[in-house]
């Protein structure tokens, strides 16, 4: 097993498994900065995954597929945002409802189009290409680690920087942080709190939808029933563990990716497949406890150092 963990194969598997979670993790960072508990990422991802497949299958154009997919995910994000922000619906219930809609609704659409209920393998949908980076790919070891991934995996890592920049360096990011931390203060200087949160949720939904696209147009070659299988939630867990910091969140998504990768190969090490499937969830649980315990212990020390600094 150790051999596997130090193999190139494993690194590839981590990135492949980690990509959708990384997208959701970044989406969740923006949601968290705007102080909205959005759990509707599963629904957004499923619709985006299906939209991408349908768009690309009927147009035979990857860009059209991507746009249709992203729009499908955005519609769910917009419904979420509208209900939560304008109709005061509880975010948890809205998320729950939209995830239900995502699992059931996508199957409905699949059936409508193909007459089948399980997947869209009968549709000739497209996949995002694998990128071999010139020059870099020829560097020994590093080249084979960095090059050769799906296009969207690169987008996912670039997204970490984009999200960091958006949140901490742009005017929109400043406003998102302001409405998230103190909506009344933001409103008192004329910032439209709902609109700002709405925009944040749309951006968040857009990023999560990219994760959905990856599922059906990269990770797998077609859409299958409930294919996100809780990844939307794991991404939220990663954000939670990373306390809203994009970089730390990224590290956690990769840890989840790794545990999934180990899980997937567990059978070859004679571990039951159910154990393998359980891995990422169990690790998240343990991680939450460990971090919770550590935070509790560090709280005083942390606060002491803060207050010392602020006194100076």
């Amino acid at each position: 097993m150790l051999d596997y963990i130090f193999s190139l194969e494993f690194i590839f598997a981590v990135i492949r498994m980690g990509t959708p979670i990384l997208f959701v993790g970044m989406a969740a960072v923006i949601g968290a900065k705007a102080d909205i508990l959005c759990i509707a990422y599963e629904g957004m991802m499923l619709f985006a995954a299906l939209g991408g497949v349908i768009g690309s299958a009927y147009s035979q154009n990857l860009a059209v597929g991507a746009i249709v997919g992203l729009l499908a995910g955005l519609v769910i994000a917009a419904i979420f945002a509208y209900f939560v922000l304008y109709l005061d619906t509880k975010p948890l219930l809205t998320g729950l409802a939209l995830n239900t809609l995502g699992t059931g609704g996508t199957v409905y659409v699949v059936y409508l189009l193909t007459g089948m209920k399980l997947d869209t393998s009968s549709l000739a949908s497209l996949r995002f290409p694998t990128i071999h980076i010139p020059v870099i790919k020829d560097i020994p070891v590093i080249g084979s680690i960095i090059s050769g991934h799906n296009l969207l995996s690169y987008v996912a890592f670039i997204m970490v920087i984009v999200v960091w920049y958006l949140v901490f360096k742009t005017r929109l990011g400043l406003r998102i942080r302001a409405v998230g931390e103190d909506p009344a203060a933001a409103a008192s200087v004329g910032i439209n709190v709902r609109r700002t949160k709405f925009i944040a949720l749309l951006i968040s939904g857009l990023i999560a939808s990219m994760g959905g696209l990856f599922m059906s147009m990269g990770y797998m070659p077609y859409f299958t029933n409930n294919m996100t299988a809780g990844r939307g939630f794991i991404g939220i867990a990663a954000q939670n563990l990373g306390r809203g910091n994009p970089i730390i969140t990224m590290i956690y998504t990769l840890i989840f990716g790794a545990s999934m990768a180990i899980g997937n190969t567990a059978q070859s090490f004679r571990l039951p497949s159910q154990f393998a499937s359980m891995m990422p969830y169990l690790i998240t649980l343990i991680g939450l406890v460990v971090i919770g315990a550590r935070n509790k212990k560090n709280e005083r020390r942390l606060h002491e150092s803060i207050s010392r600094k602020s006194k100076v």
Binding site: I79, T89, T94, L96, A97, G104, F233, Q274, T284
Partner: protein, 365 residues
Amino acid sequence: MNKTHKVITTKQIETRFSIIRTLLAVAIALVFAFFLMATVSDNILKDFTTLLIGPLASSSRMTTVISKMIPLLFTGVAVALVYSAGQINIAAEGAFFAGAVAATVVALIEGIPAPIHIILTLLAGAITGAIVMGIPAIMHVKYNVVTIVSALMMNYVALYGGLYVILNPLRDPSAGFEASFSFQRSAILPTLFGNNRLHIGLLIGFAVVILSSILLYNRPFGYEIRTVGQNQKFANYSGISVNKTIVLTSLLSGAIAGMGGTVETLGNYSRFVYSGFTNHGWDGIMLAVLCRNNPKAIPFAALFLAYIKTSADALNLTSSIPPEIISVIQAIIIIFIAAERFLANWEHKKIVANSQRALAIEKGE
């Protein structure tokens, strides 16, 4: 003289509007379903009629409605209780599944006389369910872990852990499909009214509804649950142990959901057959929301949900409409009922008008 414009309390107006909102949500969902079905249906009028009154078409279907209602009574009450304590613990799904698994384990043991065997399976289901929902609660009070995330993860752990037990040590290789060995006869729930689809789970379910309702509104612990759910700081300041209340409520809620899994499995099947989530826990959330966490209302909402689920099955048999239409209907209902400001402007106008009337009367007197 009759007063044509009676002044009523703000609370009465709010109650009226919550009823209007519920009815309107159902109506909107049905209208939406109609158009959605029209895209697939060859005969939309016939199919929509099936959706509306299909379950009433035969006594067998009506039995199905009642039978589908049974597990919902359990998960609905389970979620209503834990939500009453203000805990967004969505591990009822996992508790239900784990309860079914634990019941299976006990149901395979030979040589226990019938009534005791049934009690033991229920106990096993309850304890396992309690553990599944209790862990996120304990993680929350001890380590301040966000319950919704841990409860979600717990669902998957319960699912795959349960499947491991069923499909490895307990798998019946001769079954021809992925399933456990057959239950002992002594563990199977007795039927009611000589109907083989209605089992005593129905009675247990109603008992759970009644007992929970009494607990919540007439027992001191129920008052603690509701007070913690409404305002934790106030509860703490008043001398109620918030953490204890949260953990106990979650354990109780998990036990009820676990019992639901037990009853559903041992009442309807001869071996463990699930290969994934059953969705009963998620349905429980919807029911609790519909009933605003009041256990007394759960049977009505459960009946309604069982009814549309049966409609969906009927549609599946008689038309080309996939039963997933039901999740769309559910999603729409849940979202509109939960939308606090849906119709709020109208409600606000009513309240304002009412206050102005009260003012006018006050001045007139």
